[in-house]
Structure formats: C-alpha cells, structure tokens
C-alpha cells in the first residue's frame, strides 16, 4: 500500500520520523508531503519517497504549472475536480496559489491512505476522501487531543464534526483513545498501537548513595510540569535530601530559570538544551531516577525508554502513563499536579532497598518488552491499514 504521512513539515518531530522509518520496514511505500524545514533528509529505505511542497509563494508560482501539467495529462478528471475544489475554497490569485501548492502533490501521487499526524489540520484534507476516495487516518497524540478540546470549545466542535467521518485512528495509548471516543470517534475504528522500544541492556544502578540524580527529558513547556518538579526538589532539599536534578529539552527556559533563582536551587538543578538522542540516552544511563511531572501526556516515550533501560521512573498518573507503569510495581505514579506527593514518591523510590529496586526495574523492562515491542508495532500498523482499506 502507499501510505502518505503528513505532518506539515519535513523532517518532522522525532517520534514521527521514527514512525516513518518503521512503517517503511513493514513493507509499505511511505510518501512524505510537506514543506522542507532546514536540511532535506535522506532516507536509506527506498520505500520512503519525499515530495516537498513549494515553500514560498514564488516557488509555488514556479513549480505549480509543472505539477498541474502532470496531473492534467495523467488524470484530467482529478485535475478539474481539484481545480473546482480550490476555487470553492479560496478567492484571489495569491491565496489560490498557496492552496494549490499545498494540495496538488497528494492528488497527483494518490496514496491509498493519507495519514495525518496532527488532528487540527484534519479539516483541510477531507476533500481527499470525498473527491478522490483516499482513506483518511489520524494519529491521536499530544496536546491537540489532550488539552485543546478541553479548553477551546471551537476545537471540540471541530473534532465532533469531523471525527465520525475519519476512516481510522491510531492512538498512542488507551487513555487517549477514550478521549477521542468522547469527541465522536467510532470505537471500532481506533487502534491502540504503542510506540516500539528497542531491547536495551539494563544499566547499572547506582550503589553509592549520594547525591540522588534525577532527570527529566522533554521540551520546556508548561504541560511538562517542570515547575511542579522544582517545587518537589525544593521540598526534598529542605528535608535534607542530597540531590541533583537535570532537565534536558528544547524551548524557552526563562520561567524555569527564574523559579530556580527564587527557590534558591541554583546548586542542585541544571538545565540542558536539546541534544542528539544518543547523548540523551547516555545522560539517562548516568541518572538514578527519571521524573515525568507532566500535566498531560498521550504516553511519554522517554518513560518507555527509561523503563527499557532499567532506569526507575516516577511519573504523574496523567493520560496513558498508567498503561506503562503500575504504581509500586514497575515504577511510581503520583497524582498529576501535586508537588508534595511527587516529592514523597521520589524519596520512596530513592530509599528503596536495592534488591526490591532491582526487581522493580527488571519487571518494568519485561513489561516494555512484552507490550511495546517492535513486532507488536509492525503488526499493529499492518492490521490498521489493511482494516482501513476494507472499510467503506
């Protein structure tokens, strides 16, 4: 099958790039549509084909006639259908040119499934289904599902109008699938496919006691709850625990920097900018506890990674985190938003008897191996696309 992965930009975020390479390994042809941001990526797998959309207006003016010509020759019916659609959507040469730039490549290359990575752009692509019979798939992930519909009535209304007509949903966790059902998605069209984790060696757990090294990985954004983690670190420090907390992520650090100053935590918190994945894994391997203080998550990949390498995790019980962690058995969960409870769970995790700790991380690793495997991921997606092709 030809599967188009659309996230707007190429290359996309880390987890979407991972999805792309893994999809190609399942033997499907993967088409990438989007604007090239930065360097155009090269994929070793020949099944992945990149179709860059014209970025600027002038590029569009230059390239569109060529695409139009190709479409007109190969399938005149589709050309006129698309033309009519664009004319009904926009008026004015500039706006229409921009729209042509966005829409023509997927119509020209006609994938079997158009897989949209960010639900908010769904409305733009329904014409592919209605006019050209392309199946629409949507991934359910992130704040566009977890947060926006909760607080923006217009987004909730948009989803409620469109979700019932989507052919297939890929959910990163059962929790997020439930959210989508609440927004009008049909249950039988949702497949929960967990992200795949490589099998990793268990890291050596810290035997020398002090200081306790905490780590969080993820962009600097309020939803990640780093303020809460700092509050918890402050509680622990005041209680006399010797610790060091590292946060690795991209984005603006100003809020966290000021809070560190105001709480007087300069000596025990350090912030690091985004790093290559291998370096992040190395930092994780040198830590004692991974902390995930988020308010909302689909299911946090970094936690799955930590569990697969045997790093103990203290996570908020938001979103799908309970599907990864059973509190007290494969890690620790605290109620999201509660700094005090986070602090006591960190202390609990840290002061655990080494044997119990070793048993816990082993169990966590097994849980990941059994439920978040690459084989389950591949068969999950194969099933997902074939089932979708069969629906009418």
């Amino acid at each position: 099958m030809r599967i188009a992965v659309y996230s707007g930009i190429i290359p996309s975020t880390v987890f979407i790039e991972k999805l792309i390479t893994e999809l190609a390994e399942t033997g499907h042809e993967v088409y990438l549509f989007g604007q090239i941001k930065g360097k155009k990526p090269t994929y070793s797998n020949k099944l992945i084909k990149v179709f860059p959309m014209p970025g600027s207006f002038w590029q569009a003016v230059f390239f569109i006639p060529w695409y139009q010509f190709q479409l007109l020759v190969s399938n005149p019916g589709n050309f006129f259908a698309l033309k009519k659609h664009i004319q009904s959507q926009q008026s004015g040469f500039r706006k229409r040119t921009r729209l042509w730039a966005k829409l023509i490549l997927p119509v020209l290359h006609q994938p079997d499934v158009f897989h949209i990575q960010w639900a908010k752009s769904l409305a733009d692509w329904f014409f592919l289904k209605e006019l050209f019979g392309v199946k629409l798939a949507v991934s359910l992930r992130g704040s566009q599902i977890n947060i926006s519909p909760q607080i923006e009535p217009e987004t909730a209304a948009l989803y409620q109008g469109l979700f019932p007509r989507v052919d297939g949903f890929h959910a990163v966790s059962h929790a997020i699938a439930e959210r989508a059902i609440g927004l009008g998605a049909q249950k039988e069209r949702i497949q929960v496919i967990y992200s795949a984790q490589k099998t990793r060696e268990l890291i050596r757990l810290n035997t020398t006691k002090e200081p306790c090294r905490l780590i969080s990985v993820g962009r600097f954004h309020w939803v990640k709850g780093y303020s809460l983690a700092l509050e918890a670190v402050k509680h622990l420090k005041d209680a006399g625990v010797s610790l060091h907390y590292t946060i690795v992520g991209k984005g603006k650090q100003e809020e966290i920097l000021l809070q560190i100053q105001l709480l007087g935590l300069q000596d025990c918190v350090s912030l690091q900018a985004e790093k290559p994945h291998t370096e992040v894994l190395q930092l994780m391997a040198e830590s004692d506890i991974m902390v995930l203080p988020s308010y909302e998550e689909g299911i946090a990949n970094v936690v799955l990674e930590a569990m697969s390498m045997g790093l103990p995790v203290v996570s908020s019980n938001c979103g799908g985190m309970q599907e990864a962690i059973t509190d007290g058995e494969t890690g620790f969960l605290f109620e999201s938003g509660h700094a005090q409870e986070l602090a006591s769970k960190i202390q609990l995790c840290y002061s655990q008897n080494p044997e119990i700790k070793a048993a816990m991380v082993k169990k966590a690793q097994e849980h990941i191996r059994n439920n978040f495997s690459e084989s389950a991921f591949k068969s999950g997606f194969s099933r997902f696309y074939t089932q979708m092709a069969d629906t009418n």
């Binding site: 947060i147 607080i151 309020w222 303020s227 100003e254 920097l257 000021l258 809070q259 105001l262 709480l263």
Partner: protein, 393 residues
C-alpha cells in the same frame, strides 16, 4: 532640547505612562521624536520607524545596502563615527554594518538626548547616541531586567560602558541592575511610575467589605497572561479558598500566551464558573472593573513596579500583592495593602481569608492610606518634574 525616545514598538492606547511622559517633556518646551516600529495612531509627536527586518536573506542584503546608501548620503559623518565606535569595541565588520542598519533611522537625526525606553531597546544600538553626538539614557522597567537577561546573560555589558544615565522605576530594579553587572560608578535614578488621579474615580463605599450581607466577592487582577505574573499560583490559592466554601468570582484582564495553561488549570481546579478571562480591555473599561471589584490581587513572581496596582489603589480597591521587588515599594504591608511571600499559594489563600475577616473600618483605613500615598508619592506632576530634571541636571 531635542529628545529621541527609542521603543520596540509604537505604544498602544493602554501604555499611558509613555504618552504622559512625552506630554510632560513637550510642556517643558522640549522637542520629542519617537523611534519605534508601527503606525502613529496616538502619539502627540513625530515618529521615525526602523528599517525592516525580513526572512529572505537576499532581500535583507539588498535592503541593507539601500538603507546604508541613504544614510551615507544624509549623514555621512554619523555613519562613519558609528562604524569607528563599533570597530573600536571589537565588533566584526559584518555585524557592525548590521547594527548600523538597525540604527539607520536614528543616525540621520540630530538630538541632544537619546533615551531608550527599555533596556532591551538599546541592545545593538549602544553606540548610536555617541555617533550622533547625543547623550544616552536608558530606562529599565521590569521584564528587560528580570526576564531577558535570564536567557541572555551579559546582554548589558556593552551598554554599561557607554550609557550616561539610567532610569529605573523602583529601588528593587536598581538592585537588580547591580546584579546584572552595572558598575557602582554609574548612577541610576529612581523615578516611580505615576497615575493621573483626576482621571481615576475613587470608590470607598459599596464594596463587599461595607455590606452587611457578605455575598459574592469580586476579585480582580490586571496583567498580561505571562508566566511571570504568577496567575497559576493565584488560581491555586483560589482553589484552596473554593474548597473552604468561599463564594467569589475572579476576573483577569489581559491577553497573552499563557491562556491555554490558565484555562487548563481553571478546569483542573473546578473553577470554570468562577474565573473569567476578559482579554485585553481599553483603559476606560479597565477603570470600570476597578470600580466594581472588591479585592485586587497581583501575585507576580517578579515585577518592576506594577502600574496596575497603582491604578487599583487610586480606585480605592484593597490590594494584596506578592513580595516581588517592585511590589514591595508599591504597597506598604499592613499600611496601604498587604504583601505576601511569592510562590506560596497557601500563604496567599490565608492572607485573603485574613483580610476578609478584618472589620470594615480597618479595611477602609488601609484603602484611604493607599489613595493618599498614591496622591503624595506617585503623582503625575512629580513624575513629569522628575523627568524634566532627569534630562536637564
């Protein structure tokens, strides 16, 4: 004198303090010209806009050549002097030309004083004043001293060497500038913000405290929806009071990037029907909110001074604020309002409860003290005089 005022963008309708400042200077016979991006909608003086900064590198290079050519035709001496000054301070030639481009709208003017309205407005323009033979003054107001340097340490090092006079809006800011490396030899003058009391009606009766039947308490905050304003903590404190059964509504006036977070927290704390985000409001609308509220809260993590708190006090509204630098000077704890440790939502909740339990007389004593202090200390006439002296002494 000819005074040039450099801002990041043309002040909007709500930034009355800038308009007042310009008027004050003009009344004293000075000529004022504003350098800022945007359209001149409300300024009582001339405006010069900076050259455009665009995405396309090719067009940017073309614009740079075009604007610099114009500059060299109009004011060759200034341009050359600027280049030399930058060169002497070790700026690479390419950045030197870029800086000259960014200052090209100023370099062609003749001024006695070049006054940067914010610390950040002077970055990359440190040598502009000297190049045109003017003196250089810089104002610091809050985020330019508390937020920007967090992610740009040492951003003001170059400025400290060349600036003639520094204006700050509170003593707390003065201390902060020392932390940012301002040398002790460089003077900084505190000129507090001010309000025009003739435009703000004071309401002392008819608020929650004076009513025998205590009904819904109307709480108000006026602040950009920015993380530094501590609104998440205010919401947390209010959620605690909600759990204790207090009936209230909380109105926030202001717009900004934190709306998503604050809406989310509101929902998490089950305060949906109690919290209202009004968005941006005109000064007149804001004044009417001060009139109709019962209690004003400003629980910022950090604050240069907090103009809104002045307006609230002038309106006769009791104020509870955090102990952020500038707010400690804005409100005298227990005399003109109440000051609570920042980042302690529980302490804020307790303080609100405490204030609500005070007898009406005590509250109105504090409110009257506050209005009197605003009148005597944060008076617009005093401010305008201070600015006049700032440039002439």
């Amino acid at each position: 004198m000819r005074i040039g005022l450099v801002l990041n963008s043309v002040p909007n309708y709500s930034e009355t303090f800038l308009i007042n400042k310009i008027r004050g200077l003009q009344e004293n016979g000075h000529e004022v010209i504003v350098f800022a991006a945007g359209k001149n909608a409300i300024l009582p003086c001339k405006l010069a806009t900076p050259p455009p900064v665009i995405q396309s590198r090719l067009w940017q290079a073309w614009l740079l050549v075009f604007y610099l050519k114009m500059l060299f035709l109009k004011a060759p001496k200034n341009a050359i002097r600027f280049f030399q000054l930058e060169h002497q301070s070790g700026t690479p030639w390419r950045q030197n030309l870029e800086n000259m481009y960014l200052s090209s709208h100023i370099l062609s003017k003749e001024l006695d004083w070049l006054h940067f309205g914010f610390g950040t407005a002077a970055i990359r323009k440190e040598h502009t004043a000297k190049a045109i033979g003017a003196k250089m003054a810089v104002s610091f107001r809050g985020s330019d001293a508390y937020v920007y340097p967090l992610s740009h340490p040492n951003c003001y090092q170059k400025m400290w060497r060349v600036v003639d006079k520094v204006h700050v809006i509170s003593k707390g800011l003065q201390t902060q500038l020392t932390r940012l490396g301002k040398p002790g030899s460089l003077d900084s003058e505190v000129i507090y913000p001010a309000v025009d009391l003739t435009k703000i009606p004071c309401k002392t009766e008819g608020r929650w405290f004076s009513k025998p039947e205590k009904q819904r308490l109307e709480i108000l905050t006026v602040a950009r929806l920015h993380w530094i304003k501590g609104l998440d903590q205010t919401l947390k404190a209010l959620s605690m009071l909600h759990a204790k059964g207090l009936t209230f509504s909380f109105t926030i006036i202001g717009a900004g990037a934190e709306l998503e977070r604050l809406s989310y927290l509101t929902k998490q704390y089950s305060l949906n029907d109690k919290v209202v985000f009004k968005g941006r409001c005109s000064p007149e609308q804001t004044l009417s909110y001060y009139q109709n509220a019962d209690l004003y809260i400003q629980y910022s993590l950090q604050e240069g001074f907090g103009n809104a708190v002045l307006e609230a006090q002038a309106s006769g509204l009791p104020c509870i604020v955090s102990d952020a630098d500038g707010l400690q000077e804005n409100i005298m704890d227990g005399e003109t309002g109440w000051v609570v440790h920042r980042q302690h939502p529980e302490a804020l909740a307790n303080k609100i409860e405490e204030v609500l339990s005070l007898p009406h007389d005590e509250v109105s004593r504090i409110v009257q003290n506050a209005r009197k202090r605003v009148e005597s200390t944060f008076n617009i006439k005093i401010q305008q005089k201070a600015f006049e002296d700032f440039f002439t002494s």
